[in-house]
């Protein structure tokens, strides 16, 4: 298939649906590819979300670290969960600096009919915020400052601070 998005091939195709990009995302290009994949594969609905860096509190950019092995496992689990509902997931995220007014996060859920995609997008983005291993920094005067007050401990956090057994 010319697009490189092979929705109906087995597992290897799943990897292609998690895109990690250095710097800002090329939103139009990614959407064009995702949209092409949607209508060619007979999904009736594509529901998407784009996160764009806002200019506020004097920041020049946001910057991101991520940990790919755990991110991939988390994504694959979601792909499996959506697959059980006949839906399909695509996601793109930036690594490194993303200036104000550029985008760092995109995701889309494809489903045969709209209801599953509309409902699952909300659940997916909420879990993304809580459990995708991605760390955000404000870039101010060229320095990266960890956005601790906007960050959420992942499920199972504090394990090593617990009592020894």
């Amino acid at each position: 298939m010319a697009t490189g998005f092979r929705f109906f091939l087995p597992y290897a195709a799943v990897d292609a649906m998690l895109l990690i990009s250095k710097g800002p995302l090329e939103v139009e290009k990614i959407f064009t590819r995702w949209y092409g994949a949607e209508h060619k594969n007979n999904y009736g609905a594509m529901v998407s979300f784009v996160g764009t860096v806002r200019e506020e509190n004097g920041i020049e950019a946001l910057s991101f670290d991520l940990y790919r092995p755990v991110l991939q496992a988390w994504f694959d689990e979601w792909q499996k969960r959506l697959g059980e509902k006949g839906a399909y997931l695509a996601m793109a995220h930036s690594e490194g600096d993303v200036p104000a007014h550029k985008s760092s996060f995109m995701c889309a859920i494809f489903s045969p009919k709209r209801r599953v995609a509309l409902e699952m997008l909300d659940a997916f983005v909420e879990d993304f915020k809580a459990n995708a291993p991605i760390w955000k920094y404000d870039v101010v005067e060229g320095k990266r400052l960890y956005a601790a007050d906007r960050s959420t401990p992942m499920a199972g956090s504090g394990l090593l601070a617990g009592d020894e057994k």
Binding site: L66, V70, H93, K129, S151, M154, G156, S157, L159
Partner: protein, 73 residues
């Protein structure tokens, strides 16, 4: 030896610890005052699989990763 990695903003070089369980790793890391606040909030992976018990047994060459609070998007 067990390799312990500190991801994202923890910003600490990996360390090697002689341990047979995750509880032993926890005990060793608690001796480092620099890590105190991170241990309270970090989640833990062993060989890139998230875990939720200190009773996980470890073998030579295993990797333990500390994942501090996240904020993607």
């Amino acid at each position: 030896m067990i390799k312990v990695e500190f991801l994202g903003p923890i910003g600490k070089e990996p360390v090697e610890i002689d341990a047979k369980t995750l509880a032993e790793v926890a005990a060793a890391l608690k001796r480092d005052p620099e890590l105190e606040k991170w241990l309270e909030t970090a989640a833990v992976a062993v060989n890139d699989t998230m875990v939720d018990s200190l009773e996980v047994t470890l073998k030579d060459g295993d990797r333990v990763s500390l994942l501090p609070p996240v904020c993607g998007g």
